[in-house]
Every structure is written in C-alpha cells, then in structure tokens.
Symmetry: C2
Subunit: 351 residues, 2 copies
Amino acid sequence: MDREIPKLAKKIKLADVAEAVGVSAITVSRVLRKPELVSESVRLRVTEAVARLGYVPDPAARALASARTDVLGVLIPSVTNNVFSSVLRGIYNRVEGLPFNIQLGNTRYSVLEEERLLDVFLRQRPSGLIVSGIDQSARSKALLRQADCPIVQIMEIGDDPVDMMVGLSHRDAAGAAIRHLQARGYRRIAFLGARMDPRTRSRLVGYEQVMKEIGLLDERLIVTTPRASTVTLGCELLIELLSRTTEVDAVFCNNDDLAIGVLFECQRRRISVPDDFGICGFNDLEMMAVANPPLTSVRTNREEMGRRAIEMLIARIAGEPIDEPVVDLGFEIVARHSTAGLRPREARRRP
Amino acid sequence: MDREIPKLAKKIKLADVAEAVGVSAITVSRVLRKPELVSESVRLRVTEAVARLGYVPDPAARALASARTDVLGVLIPSVTNNVFSSVLRGIYNRVEGLPFNIQLGNTRYSVLEEERLLDVFLRQRPSGLIVSGIDQSARSKALLRQADCPIVQIMEIGDDPVDMMVGLSHRDAAGAAIRHLQARGYRRIAFLGARMDPRTRSRLVGYEQVMKEIGLLDERLIVTTPRASTVTLGCELLIELLSRTTEVDAVFCNNDDLAIGVLFECQRRRISVPDDFGICGFNDLEMMAVANPPLTSVRTNREEMGRRAIEMLIARIAGEPIDEPVVDLGFEIVARHSTAGLRPREARRRP
DNA sequence: TTGTAAGCGTTATCAT
DNA sequence: ATGATAACGCTTACAA
C-alpha cells in the first residue's frame, strides 16, 4: 500500500492525551465515557486536549477491554427488496446522532448464511441486534438466546419472541385485503405469490382462511413460485393464472411489484381495471398511488418498524424496562381505484 | 440482560486450544493463519482440537494485535435507491466464500456523514474500502489518501483516482441516449432530473452538450429538482414540463422511476407513447422491459460494478499488481418501443 | 475524585 | 518448526 502521501502523524492514544494534560490515562477514559465522575476542571482540560490533539478511541482496544462494542447489528434477507430498504431507512434515521453504528448483514434468504452472520455478529459483542422474521432455524435461535445483548425480531410478530418483536400479522393483513375485495363485489379472487418466504406464506394462509370462510376458495386461483418477485413475474403469473381459468375477477398480489406487472399485462390485454378486474397489492410502495389506475394496496409501517426496533434496543441498553416486548404495528388497506368494484352490468372479464 | 437460558460454557480461547494440544498459543495461531509454517503432525492435532473445542478467534483481539481486520467497508449514499441495491448485490455475491465481511455505511447523500463514516471505518483498519462517486470532499479525499488500505471509487470514472475506480461516464451515457432519441426523429427532447447528485449533473452536462451540438438546446426543456426521485415525481415533473411548453416530443429521464411516472401520466393524459411522445429512462430497471409500452433505457452494469470493485480490492490485498486502475464498464442504450419514433403524419402531441 | 495494576485475546518479534 | 515475551490501546477492579 505505498502511497505518495506522507503517513499521518503517529496515532494519538489515551496515554498521549493523559500526558499532555498531566493526568492518568484512566481519567481521560472516564472523561470520555462517564464525565460526571470527573471534576469539572479536569474534565475541561481533558476535553480541550482531546480536541486539540485529535484523539479518537481505538474501537478494537475498546472492544477487547470492555467486551462491548457500539455496534447495532441488523440482519436482513435482501438488500434489493424495497421492503427492507424502507426498514433500513427507519433504522438509519433513528440511529442518527446516537453513539452507535449500524452493521448490516445480508442473509440472502439463506438459513446457513443467517447462522454464519449471527455467529460473526455476536462474536463482536454488539450492543444490540435486529433480525428479520420470526422463523429462525433452531441453531440461530439458540445463538440468539445465548446472546448477551437485546434483540428485536422485526417484520412479523408471534407468540414466542427471542427477546422483543415489532411487526405485524401478515395473515391478518392479507385476510383484510381479501375482505376488502369481497366487499367491493369481487368473488373469484386469485392469489399471486413469489419468493414464498415465511411472510408470503402467512399471507397465503390469511387468504385461504378468508376465502374458505366466504365459501370461495378454489385452488386453481392460487399461483405461486419460489422465484423472487419482480414486475416481470407479475406479468407472467397473471398469464399463468388466466391460462388456468378465465373465471377470475380480481387478484391479490403478494407484493406491489407483482401488482404493477399485473397492471401492465392487463393494459396490454385490454382488461379493464377495475371494471372487469380488481387488483390489490401489498406494501403500498410509493408508485401505487400514481399508477394508472391507482392501485389498492396494504400499507405496512416499514420505516416505523425500523425506528421502533432501534428505540426498543436503546431503551434496553439504557436499562429501561420494556412494557410491551411484542409490538404490533398493524396495517391499513389503502383502497384506490383498482378495486372500485366490477362494472355494474356483467361481472365477467372480456376475453 | 438476564435470560433464562444458561450462559455459554466459558469462551474458548487460543490458550485453551494450545493447552489441550500441548503446544504454545502462537503455534495454534499459526495453524489458523499460516498453516504452511507448521509441521503436519502438529497442524492436524491443532485443527482437530479447534474443531472439537469449537474455538473461534476474537476479532477485537485480532484487530488490536495485528492492526488489521477482515472488514471491507462500503460507503453508499442511499440504501433505498435501486441503483445501489444492485451494486450491493454484486458486492455481496462476489465476496461470498471469501474471508471478508462487508461493512456497509449509509452516507445519505451527506458530505458530513460521509466524512464521519470514513473516519469510523478507517479507524477500524479495514482490509479495503469502496466509496461511491468521485466527488468526495477535500477532507474525505485527504482521509482516503492517508488510508493504508486499497480503495475503489465506484459509479463514476474520472482522471484523478484516489486509488482505483470502476464505473462509467454518465455524461457520455446521457449523450448517447439523446443521440438515440434524435436518430429516432425526436427533436424537442426534454430533460427531467431529480436529486441532482454529481452523476445526475454529469448526465445533464451530456444532455446539454449533445442538444447544443445538434442545435436543439432550449432551457425550458430542462426540469430539475433536488428532491429524491420517485415515480410520483416523474408525474409531477412531466406536468411541470408541459405547463412550460407543449412543444415537446420526447423526454430523457434521469432515471427509470421518473420514466415510469412519466409513462403513467402520459397514459392518463392520453398522450400516445411513442407516437406522440418518446420516453427514455436511465438504469434499465427490470420493469422497463414489461411496461406498456416497454420503455427504452440506458443499461449500466451495476452488479458487475460491485463485483469488479471487490475483485480489485482482493487483488490488491493479495499484493497483485493492478494493470488498469480505472475501469470503464460502459453502458448500453436498450432501445424499446417507447422511442420507436413519432407517428409519421404529424410530429406534435395532441393537447 | 483520581490513580495503580492487571488484564482483555491475539499477533509480532526475536530466539532457539 | 516452535516458543517466550512483549506489545496492541483500552477498561475493570480495586485502592487511595
């Protein structure tokens, strides 16, 4: 690593600051971490010297000596997925200005990678940890339970938190979407699902429950794939659905990308939305409101989820008691024109 | 942090393994890092003991003793932006299986935050660093030049790499897009730009150069905003543009989100694409190919960019010489129906 | 309120 | 090929 730029002046350490001020190293350390334990005069002189010399603590030395870091670990299954981007935004926004650093791990929907990263992260003795989902492997759960830092599971909620949880019931959210479609007069309501991760499966369960309740469940209306969801896939799944049966008058898409794809494909096939066909997405991405027509979706509070997760962590780090270890952030059906209801005269798509 | 689960058995350290095998700690350390320096018999016994005891090195102790970590730092301005998600995917894919860990920093398009994170990251003595863009502040550049690890600037290319670069010329890419529109018969070509980060500005320069060259530059056709780009903003910018002048027959959007918004707004206004109005985006997101009509865009090799950046880092870490410190990944105009050309009869939009 | 001494777990250096 | 010893820079525990 030879660069033409001269090396930095030798790195300033605690001892250098201590010497400059004429106190011991531990006093400088205290000024930095627990200033209230140090007399004002000393504190001021130390603070001044720290600034003047440009001292900054070595995180590795700190971690080694204190068995603690200022890292908040965050494990998510995808960096590409909009849903997690939003959560991350909430996390980064909330942590700004706090003395913590986010360490992001990308599990890529792989159980093994999640276990590996959990291992890597925990070994660094983070101040807190955020993990996605509630369906960790047995090994992951064991690691989490042994961790000596607060942990928040996000995205979903359930009965058996490793420590804390903040999320929503995807089953209920999907169920509510189906009831919305039903209330608007749609009957033959299909389910399009991609990726089929635990949350998608929960939504499918919610769909099936409600469809069964209202006596409309038909397996042919359920089209799923393990492939990652994309707009293109939305088109393809609609085509697959219509090839199975033309007796469909609405579709609940497991997420908004699929819904946009379905919309484009409907436009191409001159299927009128919502007159002949209703479309409901999930997540309520920004673009849903300005599509043509605007698309109904299920709003989830993803930024809020990230924010709350951080707040729960820092509360626990500060030793505050947590009244609610499991926080349900709920959801909201954002009804737009795409599910305004079938055309009065005849509730059947044109071929 | 009181949990009901019993604490882990006391953490195994180097000395424990050494004792179990009957060698010294440093020998165990060597087996882990430079096995070729240790005799086979000892190596085998040590390896066995490491596995049996479940020993794993403490990263903080390692970092403190060796002044080096296995961290590859990555600084990006946004976790929400599709462009960076793709780059990240390339990075994570390429680094999989290698003995490095990605540490992600989110600068949120803030110079100050970039400087702060650079500071935080460099203090951890990473094995390598990837930073976004080539327009770092003077202070950031100074920090980078003093770093004693390899560094890759990604997204753009320029004359003065801090160390290495991999990206493309956004000016040329935008210029090529404009020439494409011109070749298809469009004349009154507008520019819609959001965020106005350095790359967006480069694209604007490319647009202006080519428009001037072909004698078509008209300031009224340039609509920009500092707001982050969204599909909604695409609609709004088109509305703003049309309120300034109806003498427009095509639009180059600074990115695909804007282009999708423009498309939806055109659909609403019954502006026929491409007959009355051409649309070209930038980045070639997956959805462009299946929009209605499919939208022309400029493909950039974002995953490849991430991959190459990692490869350049590990080559340098391995001490290999770099033949090309600045890698131009180029771009490609992906022509689709949205720029098929104006309707033969009359090259004017309907009101 | 401040300081002393003893690690924290690993690796660099120098011996053997 | 292997080992003894001294860092690495900080914090904990205890003392004064």
